[in-house]
């Protein structure tokens, strides 16, 4: 069916419709396009692009599938669950099924080691965390007002928080010199900058654990942030969607725990949490987003707004059933952390062997890889050039730091939980080969440059090329580049 596109109608659309606020013109998507046109498959396309730009958690589906098999009553389409079908299908109350709210509150608590309780009556649904962020922005800020966001941050925020709301995002610059921690100085600087530009700051948005860093905030830093927002009387929105990915033995502190331990530290009306099942459970398709606010008015209004993005009751019913099963939940959370840690360690261990370091981290579905020394110059142009090499030659879709608004070039986010073990090894081998080939090239280039001056260098080059790879890589080799250890 051919429909003639009348160019005149371009002018008929809103400003929102024709601007770039959707964010899809960012280079961030070029890697995805490269992957989509040439996706890796172990048998059908072994030389294809491996997707390492998608923060998905695929490591524990076996546990979930087993639970589903053993609990047919969780599905309203099964004989056991079918008698609920009509009631569930008709239920459209934006409060959500009470058992759903209860199960989510229970899950959120267990993900935080049961160190804190959540009130089911404060649970508000949304269309994924994407919908949650937009709704919270609509509730807290007017068009033209701003949120402070520490860099580097998830690129989706540019769309989620700004596109239809018309609010601004002001970066709080974080640097590698102190492991990208958020400092009071950086916060004050960002806040003052906004003031000077006559932009009203309405809140601070943090992601804890951080995307893309994979680190989480320590208690002292959280307290500093809370005191800051309280003093400025602005909101604090805490995106905790990766809370369940913090590996065992590490003390992740949720903002909920800060409020519980230090109840007088701030006005609780300023604190709001965004959560979702997309990362911790691996359910991005089910669109289970949650807004949890300590502000009664915000709960009320966000709930009314949730009409624009309610969770399907079919999904609410299933999730309610699954997440009320405490034995399953505890086992899942524990096992997921173990598998994520193992995968993470495997990756960074292998990369360290070829001198590639990353920011030390204990959370998330990704790590923050340091490729600064591979850039010709410490510029974003060099970063993009090198990134295109990674996509087109090494055939890996990783995400360049510039797409996360990182102020320093050379950092890349690498996702590790969205593939099987074999694919991990293929990815690792590709990186290692690339690094080694690069080194060989450097060696040859240096040798050839010298050769122009001194003829006897020819003999040396021949000797070099006949040496075994291992010799070149040994720490004792004078031609070896300094090993970059993982930063602490």
């Amino acid at each position: 069916m051919e429909v003639a596109l009348n160019n005149n109608t371009h002018k008929l659309l809103s400003k929102i419709a024709i601007n770039d606020g959707h964010g899809e013109n960012s280079p961030y998507f070029d890697g995805w396009k490269a992957y989509d046109t040439n996706p890796y498959h172990p048998r059908n396309n072994p030389s294809g692009v491996i997707q390492m730009g998608l923060a998905e958690n695929q490591l524990c589906f076996d546990l979930i599938e087993e639970w589903i098999k053993n609990h047919p009553e969780a599905s309203i389409c099964s004989p056991q669950g079918g008698f609920d079908f009509k009631e569930i299908a008709l239920f459209q109350d934006y409060h959500g099924l009470p058992e759903f709210r209860g199960a989510i509150a229970n899950f959120m608590s267990r993900v935080r080691g049961s160190r804190v309780k959540f009130d089911p009556s404060r649970i508000v649904m949304s269309g994924g965390a994407t919908g949650a962020h937009e709704t919270v922005a609509f509730c807290l800020a007017n068009r033209g007002e701003a949120f402070l966001v520490p860099t580097p941050y998830y690129p989706g925020f540019d769309r989620d928080l700004k596109w239809r709301t018309g609010i601004e995002l002001i970066p709080v610059v974080c640097e590698s010199t102190n492991n990208f921690k958020v400092t009071l100085g950086a916060l004050e600087e960002a806040y003052d900058k906004a003031r000077e530009s006559n932009i009203k700051v309405k809140g601070l948005l943090i992601t804890n654990p951080s995307n893309p860093l994979g680190t989480f905030f320590d208690k002292d830093t959280l307290k500093t942030l809370v005191r800051f927002i309280n003093e400025k009387n602005i909101h604090l929105v805490c995106d905790e969607i990766y809370a369940g990915t913090v590996t065992n033995g590490n003390e992740f502190v949720s903002i909920a725990e800060i409020l519980e331990e230090f109840p007088t530290i701030c006005n609780h009306n300023l604190i709001h949490i965004v959560y979702s099942l997309s990362k911790d459970m691996g359910f991005p398709g089910f669109r289970v987003g949650i807004i949890y606010s300590y502000n009664d008015t915000v709960v009320n209004i966000a709930r009314k707004m949730s009409s624009f993005g309610l969770v399907s009751t079919q999904t609410q019913h299933m999730v309610a059933s699954m997440l009320s099963d405490n034995d399953f939940v505890d086992h899942f959370i524990c096992e997921s952390k173990i598998r994520l840690a193992h995968r993470h360690e495997m990756f960074i261990g292998e990369l360290a062997e070829v001198g590639i370091g990353s920011l030390e981290s204990n959370a998330g579905l990704f790590f923050w890889m340091d490729l600064r020394r591979f850039l010709k110059e410490p510029t974003f142009e060099s970063e993009m050039t090198f990134w295109r090499i990674i996509i087109n030659e090494i055939k890996l879709n990783v995400s360049p730091g510039s797409s996360f608004h990182c102020e320093e070039p050379g950092w890349f986010r690498v996702c590790f939980a969205n593939m099987d073990d074999e694919t991990v090894m293929v990815a690792v081998e590709r990186i290692k080969s690339f690094v080694l080939e690069r080194r060989m090239l450097e060696i040859k280039t240096k040798a050839m440059a010298k050769n122009k001056k001194q003829c006897w260098q020819n003999n040396l080059q021949l000797k070099l090329s006949s040496r075994r790879l291992e010799d070149i890589m040994s720490p004792h080799s004078p031609l070896n580049s300094p090993m970059l250890r993982a930063q602490n």
Partner: protein, 439 residues
């Protein structure tokens, strides 16, 4: 738990503190009365009967029968490993088989008189989201959409709240059965212009809520001509299209466009949902169908804020692809709704109440103006309160639907059993009898 701290009050946005969410309207007050004292034929036979909720409960047995016979395809297939792929699927294009099934279902509802291209189907979590999303795309804050009165009270929130867009009413009255006229369109447009408000489109609901009537083909063509002449959009909310009692009496804007070879169609957009026709409001299945490529692309991107659960897409893809089932469902559903409608119309007639002659929807448009003390909204609300508290029926007053003539009420009939409907009718009968004696 927290210690009370006296703090300066913290600012929320203007949107948050406005009342545009609309929940203070009488439309919702009746719901509260029902929630506090809901009718139950055994446990609470004197409770409030809910007649303010446009739900379709008359055909659930058909859905349940389908599910029983097709468990495997509804439940990720025999291999539970289908679960993983489904749980991970978050592409805003939606599951292809589901989009195809929606397009095919929309065609069947229109008796094959219009074709729908699955690539133009954009999925949203309900028609609520679809209407808001379209408004964001078609209008800027401060601009207006023209909407014929009476209209669904939810539009005040869906079209205006977060978008900042205004609604300028197109006045329709009972003299011609509340049909939209070219004069009314022009008057609304001029009114907006006189207030320096830019009109970006016309939004019609066809079949109409709350009228329960189809828009005539001739009127659709006039509205389209008007939109072309003013160079604005035309949004047709067709969520009740499967609830038209006679398949051949409902005309979709899609048919009008097809007959014109799609000339000028890039300004047209259709909203659809499964909440009414299939009776599945909880599943949040809505769609924007646009003939404008840029609108489709932008709507798809915006749908990220309101995607349909892939679990639900999967279930419904299999159900709606079964053409034998959907054909049967559409036909039987129409027949049952028609039967319900006739039951309520005749029952009201016996009580001395006239309704607008409608041939669609899950409700009828009842005229109580002869029973008002005065022809005012105040009297309308007075009789409404009486009906709520004494007759114990929750019906929706016309004023909450922005009807400019007092005395009209929307009465839903498809969200209850036939027995309950009989009880409601007998209560109305009694009420009118007493009222006549009293007057």
């Amino acid at each position: 738990m927290a210690i009370e701290i006296v703090q300066p009050s913290v600012g929320l946005s203007k949107i948050a503190v406005s009342e545009t969410h609309g929940e203070d309207s009488p439309y919702f007050a009746g719901w509260k009365a029902y929630d506090e004292n809901p009718y139950h034929e055994i446990h609470n036979p004197s409770g409030v009967i809910q007649m303010g909720l446009a739900e379709n409960q008359v055909s659930f047995d058909l859905l349940e029968e389908y599910l029983e016979a097709n468990l495997e395809s509804a439940n990720w297939g025999q291999k539970v490993s289908g679960f993983r792929e489904n749980a991970l699927f978050q592409d805003y294009h939606g599951i292809l088989s589901f989009r195809k099934a929606m397009a095919s279902f929309m065609e069947q509802v229109r008796g094959g008189k219009a074709k729908f291209n699955p690539d133009r189907v954009v999925l949203t979590a309900g028609a609520t989201a679809a209407n808001e999303l379209l408004t964001f795309i078609l209008a800027d804050p401060g601009d207006a959409l023209l909407v014929p009165t009476p209209y669904y009270p939810g539009f005040d929130r869906d079209l205006r709240w977060r978008t900042g867009v205004q609604i300028v009413p197109i006045h329709c009255d009972s003299l011609n059965g509340f049909q939209i006229t070219p004069e009314a369109l022009e008057a609304a447009y001029d009114h907006a212009t006189s207030m320096n408000i830019k009109v970006r489109g016309v939004l019609i609901t066809n079949p109409s809520n709350p009228l329960g009537a189809n828009i005539q083909r001739k009127v659709l063509e006039q509205i389209l001509e008007f939109a072309i002449q003013k160079n604005i959009h035309l949004v047709s909310d067709e969520i009740y299209s499967g609830s038209a009692f006679y398949a051949d009496e409902f005309v979709s804007i899609a048919e009008v466009l097809e007959s014109r070879n799609y000339q000028d169609s890039e300004r047209c957009h259709i909203v659809y949902s499964l909440s009414k026709d299939l009776g599945l409001p909880g599943f949040r299945v809505g769609t924007v169908y646009s003939y404008n490529d840029q609108v489709v692309t932008t709507a798809r991107r915006m749908s990220s804020f309101t995607l349909i659960s892939s679990q639900t897409q999967f279930l419904l893809a299999s159900m709606l692809s079964d053409k034998e089932f959907t054909q049967k469902y559409i036909k039987i559903n129409r027949e049952r709704l028609k039967k319900r409608y006739e039951m309520i119309i005749n029952g009201l007639k016996k009580a001395g109440i006239e309704c607008l002659k409608g041939k669609a929807g899950l409700f009828c448009w009842m005229n109580l103006s002869p029973y008002l003390e005065e022809p005012t909204i105040k009297s309308e609300l007075a009789i409404w309160k009486t009906i709520m508290h004494e007759v114990r029926l929750n019906i929706s007053p016309g004023s909450s639907c922005h009807c400019f003539e007092p005395g009209w009420f929307r009465v839903c009939f498809a969200n209850m059993s036939e027995e309950t409907l009989e009880v409601a009718l007998s209560r109305i009968h009694e009420f009118i009898k007493e009222r006549k004696q009293g007057l």
